[in-house]
């Protein structure tokens, strides 16, 4: 109480001023009225990074690992936002992404049942997608039918292509197909798309759908621009 009365009009602090060492004559640092600057000035510069063979190798390992992870099926991209108008280049761009996603089969025994992802059926053909299941007879029938369709397609394509060499490949391909045990229902659709995609001569990533193009070819225009 007495202290409070005596302290009126003078600066008071919660701790003893003398004990901590602030004498009467000292000027305290000015009180701060705004947040500290975003990049405060450093009195001491930090040490340079250690550079050596080991550090460079670790750096290379780190960057390669990051790059490799981006191409693995674990890297999940959100479905790209639909643009206002369907573009011609979408057909080429979208198939690149979805391939990686479908390649990965985790060991379903180690995961809870509710996490199984079932593919939506396409083209009216409903097929169970759990790949680690044993085949059922119904699937086998569908498979045989699709194999025949694919074979037919192959033959028609081959008539357009070169002669001898592709026939050899087709034989090998037939053998390979006979060995396989499972396939996807929509493999046929994908096959079309992929085969068509492979036929083009252009580098996929080089395709520019022309949206950024424009406005820089005014030099040789003979006609006026309206």
């Amino acid at each position: 109480m007495a202290g409070r009365g005596g302290g009126r009009g003078r600066r008071m602090m919660t701790f003893s001023v003398e004990a901590v060492g602030i004498t009467r004559g000292d000027s305290l640092p000015p009180s701060i009225q705004q947040p500290t600057p975003l990049f405060p000035v450093m009195e001491q510069k930090p040490l340079p990074l250690t550079a050596g063979e080991e550090e460079e190798y670790l750096l290379a390992l780190k960057q390669e690992f990051r790059g490799a992870m981006k191409s693995l099926p674990c890297f999940i991209q959100p479905t790209a936002a639909h643009r206002d108008v369907e573009r011609y280049s979408d057909k080429y761009h979208s198939s690149e992404q979805t391939e990686a996603l479908t390649d990965w089969t985790p060991d379903w025994k180690r995961l809870p049942k509710e996490l199984r992802v079932k593919k939506p059926p396409r083209g009216g053909v409903s097929a169970a997608v759990s790949r680690s299941d044993k085949l059922q007879s119904g699937q086998k029938k569908k498979k045989v039918k699709e194999k025949e369709e694919v074979l037919l397609k192959l033959e028609t394509l081959q008539k357009k292509e070169e002669g001898q060499s592709s026939e050899d490949e087709e034989e090998e391909g037939e053998e390979k197909k006979k060995k396989q045990e499972e396939e996807e229902a929509e493999g046929e659709e994908e096959y079309d798309e992929e085969e068509f995609e492979e036929e083009t001569d252009y580098v996929m990533s080089y395709f520019d759908n022309g949206e950024e193009f424009g406005g820089d070819s005014d030099d040789n225009m003979d006609e006026a621009i309206y």
Binding site: Q44, F65, C74, T79, D107, E114, S205
Partner: protein, 528 residues
């Protein structure tokens, strides 16, 4: 989970698994154990994507699931722990260690397992053999047996372990993931795997289409289905800890003493448990016999070295008895504490100057000192000492302890002592390190995003160049393509590459400090 840890985990998940997994992961980190419905509802992401993200997280060990707490019928709950995600920072170091110990084969095995989370033994061996075959010359390929033997050696030395068996639906499981040491942890199954690695063949377009059409699923069974292997991080951490102690001894004393300590650690590798305070006592005779043959120092010299090591204030080696010519132990926990202390001191020195560091070391040694005593012992003029103490106090590296003389805590009748507590300060610095790494990652992402167009252009041009070279074009065509990037753009690209390399390298080196501080904090947690 502190805010800094969650932020860093989010960034790491984004870089390695994509933004969807980042959202799901950070939501789980912040919210604790949740079931699928809650996650979908609160993150607003579609069901399929959430399921896939959870699969990815469980595959990589970042998330554990168990049946709900409310009884037998409740939905499974998922829980994430940030420790496992923070290990991603240390992956390059694990891979490099495997390379130094087991060569390229070991390096690739560890890299594959880190990329995939966990895999069966046969799957790993096949993939690694294929990768090694890619890099070999034409006509040669890597045999599976070589890769298998490298795998066996990794399991023998416990660098790899089996994934723990699923906990099943037992509701009495604790929240922590299953302990790694179950009976069959390091038992290698009998696997029939004969063959050689396959080289990827150059195939024509039609054939490529056919191959894509068939899914590569008909792997013949090898007898080890369901047995997955994962990298044993704890073992790598023990190895790093040993290396840190050995290099500290080498820096402080000399090469021979570090060899002696290395021998002692090697001898007690199998007999010491990971959380032990010190190794089992080793007699001087045993150490003498086990020294590497290149170091044939006579017995009395060895005794002198051991005496030196004991007397050193860092207390790496201690004496535990007199039998057998003297029984010696390596003090793990004390070594870690001293290494952490050295880290703290160097941080203060680099941030505030050598005189502030002197005050800090003084306070560490003398525990509690008054203002006047600090000035006297540190031999620094009063005004500057005051300034430095206040700076350290404002940064929370130094604390003020009040000791009242009277029960009413009157300021004029209280002692105010400055003190440094090593453990809380280490924790605080660890959080600073996490914040540092998060800032580095963000800056790197920002730099890449700024120059995204330029990077894409350069990638496209490299792709064109590669395809031209593969199809055998003339030099004029190549130079023409190269000139598509202008000189200032090249400079910009160079500067960008330099920045990104620096930021990446900085992340690696901050992670070394993180490892030291984490080991120290964990060692105190186990003893207390």
């Amino acid at each position: 989970m502190t805010a800094q840890e969650v932020r860093l985990c989010g960034l790491l998940l984004r870089e390695h698994f994509g933004e969807v997994v980042e959202k799901v992961g950070t939501h789980l980190l912040k919210g604790g154990a949740q079931n699928l419905r809650t996650i979908i509802h609160e993150t607003g992401i579609s069901l399929d994507l959430v399921k896939k993200s959870l699969c990815v997280l469980v595959q990589h060990g970042a998330c554990v699931f168990r049946s709900g707490r409310k009884g037998a019928g409740s939905p499974t709950e998922y829980q994430t722990c940030c420790d496992r995600i923070l290990r991603i920072l240390r992956y390059p170091r694990y891979i490099y260690t495997a390379k130094t110990l087991y060569g390229d084969t070991g390096e690739l095995i560890i890299e594959e397992l880190l990329q995939r989370g966990h895999m069966t033994m046969s799957g790993t061996i096949k993939t690694v053999a294929d990768r090694l075959t890619q890099n070999m010359e034409e006509g040669r390929s890597m045999d599976y047996s070589e890769v298998s033997s490298a795998f066996f050696r990794l399991v023998e030395t416990h660098f790899l372990q089996r994934c723990p068996p699923l906990a099943g639906a037992e509701p009495k499981d604790s929240a922590t993931p299953a302990a790694p040491s179950f009976p069959d942890c390091y038992k290698v199954p009998h696997v029939t795997l004969v063959g050689r690695g396959k080289r990827q063949l150059a195939i024509t377009l039609l054939f490529a289409a056919l191959l894509k059409f068939q899914l590569p699923l008909n792997c013949p069974t090898h007898g080890d289905e369901g047995i997955c292997w994962q990298v044993n991080f704890e073992r790598f951490h023990l190895h790093f800890r040993d290396q840190a102690i050995i290099s500290a001894v080498a820096n402080k004393l000399d090469q021979t003493s570090s060899e002696i300590v290395r021998t002692m650690l090697r001898m007690s590798e199998v007999t010491t448990s990971p959380t032990a305070t010190c190794t089992k006592p080793l007699s001087a005779n045993e150490i003498f016999r086990s020294l590497p043959t290149s170091y044939n120092i006579p017995r009395p010299i060895l005794d002198q070295y051991l005496t030196l090591l004991i007397d050193d204030p860092m207390e790496f080696v201690g004496k535990a008895g007199e039998s057998g010519g003297g029984m010696y132990v390596v003090n793990m926990h004390r070594a870690l504490a001293n290494l952490a202390r050295a880290t703290l001191e160097s941080v203060v020195q680099e941030r505030f100057g050598s005189r502030s560091a002197r005050i800090f070391r003084l306070l560490l040694r003398k525990r509690h000192l008054e203002q006047k005593q600090v000035e006297d012992f540190a031999m620094i003029p009063a005004k500057e000492a005051k300034d430095m103490l206040y700076t350290l106090l404002s940064q929370n590296l130094v604390q003020l302890q009040e000791i009242p003389k009277t029960p009413d805590y009157a300021p004029s009748r209280t002692f105010y002592l400055y003190t440094v507590n090593q453990l809380p300060t280490a924790r605080m610095l660890l959080q600073n390190c996490y914040k540092t790494v998060a800032n580095l990652v963000e800056r790197r992402l920002f730099e890449s995003k700024e120059s995204k167009r330029l990077l894409e252009k350069s990638q496209r041009i490299e792709a064109i160049l590669a395809s031209l070279q593969a199809s055998g074009a003339e030099p004029e065509q190549l130079t023409e393509v190269e000139e598509m990037i202008t000189a200032p753009e090249k400079q910009q690209l160079e500067a960008l590459r330099l920045h990104i390399n620096k930021l990446d390298s900085a992340e690696n080196q901050v992670d070394e400090t993180i490892f030291l501080l984490e080991s120290y904090i964990n060692s105190t947690a186990s003893t207390s």
